[in-house]
Amino acid sequence: MTKQLALVIDLNVCVGCHACVTSCKQWNTSGEAGFLSDDNPYGADPTGTFFNRVQTFEVGEFPNTETVHFPKSCLHCEDPPCVPVCPTGASYKRAEDGIVLVDYDKCIGCKYCSWACPYGAREVDEHQKVMKKCTLCVDRIYDAKLPEAERKPACVLACPTSARLFGDIHDPQSAASQAIREQGGYALMPEWGTHPANHYLPRRKTTKHLHPDELERHDNPLKVDGQLPRPAPGEPALDDVTSW
C-alpha cells in the first residue's frame, strides 16, 4: 500500500498557543521556495500568507460553553478536489507519500484551485503571485542531515502539548493510525467525499460518575453507625481513639 503522510491533531490537547503557526511561518518563509509574504505586519491592517492557522470557536450557550481551539492547514486529501481542476498541472499529489504540493514555477496564479478547496486551505501569495499551501515541511521530513527525531514538520516539533502527531496513516502500526483508530479520529466535512488525510481527535471530557453504592456503605445496609449514641462530653470522642 502506498504511503499517505498526514497530521493528526488532538483538539483535546490543543491549548491555542499558536506555536505551530509561528514555527510553520518561520520554517517555510526561510526555505529555498522563497518567503511567505507579509504586508503591514505592524500596521492597523496586517495580512500575510500562512500555511497554518489556529482558529477558536465557542461551542454551546453560556454558561454551558466550551472553547475549542482548532488548528487548520491543508488536509492533504486522498481525493483532493483542488488537483484535477488545476489547468497547468502545478497542483499535484505526490504518488510516493500523498503530499499535495504546488509547483511554484508552473503556477499561473489563477486561483481556481482555491475555489475548488472546501476548506480554504490555499492562500495566494500577494507578492509572488502563486498559490501556496502546507507542504507538510517536505523540505525537512526527508532531510538526512537532520537527526532522525527532527525529520518532522515544524508545527509538530513546536507543539508544547504534543497535540500534533505526524505519520503514515496507511500504515496501521503508525502512531497516527493508532490514534485515529483508538481515539475516534475524524475527518472534516466528510460530506464532500474528499477523504482528508489529516484527522482530528475529538474533545474528550473526563467525568466522574458516582454510583449510589459508592455513597452508601455496601457492608452496612442498616446504617447502624448513624444510630449509635453520641458520646458523653467527658468520654473520648472518635478523634481520640485513632488507634483503632
Partner: protein, 311 residues
C-alpha cells in the same frame, strides 16, 4: 465569492461574441440549405470582426485574472481533467476557426466557408460548455453546481449575440433585422426564464456543510471567536463580496430589468434603426455584467464557515 472584473468581462464578452458568430452562421447555413445566398459581404465582415473583437477582448480581460500571465501557455496542459484547461484550448481554437470562416467568406469560397463555419460552431459549443462547466463542476459551490449554470451561459450568450446581430444588421443589412429581432426576443425570453429558474433554485438551497461538520463538533450552536489572523487574509478577500445587502439587491434588480425586459421593449418597438438596436445591445450587456456579478456574489463557499469572525 468575490466577483472579479476580469472573469465577469471574460465570460460576458466571449458569450456575446459566440452568440454573434452563431447568429451569422445560422443565416449562412439557412442560405446554403435553400441554395440562395443572401448575406451582404460587409455585414459578414462586420459581424465576424465584431465577434472576433468581443472574444479577443474577453481573452485579453482573462489575462488580468492571472498572477503570472506570462505563464498562461502552460494552462493548456491538463485538458484531461480541468475544464479551465479545456476552455483555454477551445477559446483560441474558436477564434482561429471564426477567422478562417471570415477569410474564406471574403475570398468567395462559400463551400469552404460553410465547412469552416461548421467547425467554428462546434468549437463555439465546446467553449460554451467549458466556460459553464468551470463553475458547474465545483460541487460544493451549490449555487453553481447545476446544469442551469451551463444552459444559462449558452442562452444568455446567444441572446446577447443575437441582439448585437440585430443592431449590426440594422446598420449594414436591414433585410435581416426582422429575423434577428424575433430570434433575439425568443432567445432572450428563454435565457431570462433560465436565469429565473436558477434564482429560484438557489433561493431554496440548503447548505450541505455547517460549522458542526466544518470543525467536527456535534453541536447546533457554535460561534467563531477568532480566525487566526488579526487583519484579513486571502480567505476573507477572495470568498466574500464584501458589499452591503443594498448593493447586492440593486445589482439583482438591474440584472432582472436589463437582461431582458428593457432590451425587449427596445426590440419590440419595431424600430429598424441601428442606434436603438445598438442601445438595446449595450443595455443588455450591462444587464449581463450585473448578472455575472450577482452570479459570483450569490455563491457561498463552504470555506466561509471558517472565516466568520476576525478578532
Amino acid at each position: 465569492m468575490r466577483p472579479a472584473w476580469s472573469v465577469i468581462l471574460l465570460t460576458t464578452l466571449i458569450g456575446a461574441g459566440q452568440g454573434l458568430f452563431l447568429a451569422l452562421y445560422a443565416v449562412d447555413a439557412y442560405d446554403a440549405a435553400r441554395g440562395q445566398a443572401s448575406l451582404a459581404p460587409f455585414f459578414v465582415a462586420a459581424a465576424i470582426a465584431a465577434s472576433l473583437a468581443l472574444v479577443g477582448a474577453g481573452l485579453l480581460a482573462s489575462f488580468f485574472h492571472l498572477g503570472h500571465p506570462e505563464r498562461a501557455w502552460r494552462s493548456a496542459a491538463m485538458w484531461r481533467t480541468s475544464w479551465l484547461s479545456r476552455e483555454v484550448i477551445a477559446l483560441p481554437l474558436f477564434l482561429a476557426l471564426v477567422a478562417l470562416y471570415g477569410a474564406l467568406h471574403w475570398l468567395g469560397s462559400l463551400q469552404g466557408a460553410l465547412l469552416a463555419g461548421a467547425l467554428a460552431a462546434l468549437a463555439c459549443a465546446a467553449l460554451f460548455v467549458c466556460t459553464g462547466m468551470i463553475y458547474a463542476c465545483l460541487k460544493f459551490l451549490q449555487e453553481w453546481h447545476t446544469p442551469l449554470t451551463v444552459t444559462n451561459f449558452v442562452l444568455l450568450g446567444s441572446a446577447s449575440g443575437l441582439t448585437a446581430a440585430a443592431a449590426l444588421a440594422a446598420w449594414l443589412q436591414p433585410a435581416l433585422v426582422r429575423g434577428y429581432v424575433v430570434a433575439a426576443l425568443a432567445l432572450g425570453a428563454l435565457a431570462y426564464l433560465g436565469r429565473l429558474a436558477s434564482l429560484r433554485r438557489n433561493a431554496r438551497l440548503r447548505p450541505i456543510s455547517n460549522l458542526a461538520s466544518a470543525i467536527g463538533v456535534k453541536h447546533p450552536r457554535i460561534v467563531q471567536i477568532a480566525q487566526g489572523a488579526m487583519g484579513g487574509s486571502f480567505n476573507t478577500r477572495e470568498f466574500f463580496h464584501g458589499r452591503p445587502r443594498e448593493v447586492v439587491r440593486a445589482v439583482r434588480w438591474s440584472m432582472l430589468a436589463l437582461v431582458f425586459p428593457v432590451p425587449a421593449l427596445l426590440l419590440f418597438g419595431g424600430s429598424q434603426s441601428a442606434p436603438v438596436l445598438g442601445a438595446a445591445f449595450l443595455l443588455q450587456y450591462a444587464g449581463l455584467l450585473a448578472e455575472r456579478w450577482y452570479f459570483f456574489a450569490e455563491a457561498k463557499h463552504p470555506q466561509n464557515l471558517y472565516y466568520q469572525a476576525i478578532a
